[in-house]
Symmetry: C2
């Protein structure tokens, strides 16, 4: 089984965390994809944290987990904190394939997204 | 003339600010759109700030400015801080049409962006 784990920074404002959870729900229920599991997790300030999110995917039967950093910029969280946490969970789960994709802000689709939003479509 | 002003939070890390400026440059040079001017500005911590960014667009001849909040969540920055600043610049420029689009994180295209990034395309 294959999982997609969307990881965001996490906020003290629960509504912001809920927006991330909603994106995971929308992808799970409506997205065109081959993920059996779609979950979200947070770097800090909110639950579940990344290791818990990975555990949840593993307990749900995931053998492969694609981690998608929901961050706009390639700051320290993306370049250092997330890779460090993922290295630890990989060591704890040597039998699971865990890969981290580029952060969403680096996608070339972002240009199109901005323009489509700007044109009201 | 019509301007697109992408506004991000702003970071003490210059590389993060440069990523936002790069997106504006890429849209300006390669995007399929009808904007005569494409610029970026920041809510705080980086230059130009939003009022300066608006001034720059006006001085470049913009009569209509579309402001695109480059934020993932609808926190206080998106719901209160940016609207307050825009209300002030609107009062200072009653002859310019200034509109704020939804923040990028609210776009339905984000789901597709995450999935395409996750599938390596």
């Amino acid at each position: 089984m294959k999982a997609l784990l969307i990881i965001a920074h996490g906020s003290r404002r629960q509504a912001s965390n809920d927006e991330v959870k909603k994106i995971a729900t929308q992808i799970r229920e409506h997205g065109q994809h081959d993920f059996d599991i779609v979950e979200s997790a947070f770097l800090e300030l909110a639950s579940p944290l990344i290791p818990e999110g990975i555990e949840h995917c593993v307990k749900s039967g995931a053998k492969q987990i694609v981690v998608s950093p929901y961050f706009l910029n390639s700051g320290k969280h993306v370049t250092e904190d997330i890779p460090e946490i993922i290295a630890e969970v990989k060591a704890a789960h040597p039998d699971i394939i865990i890969e981290v994709t580029p952060h969403v802000g680096s996608s070339p689709i972002m240009l199109d997204l901005i323009l489509k939003t700007a044109s009201g479509s």
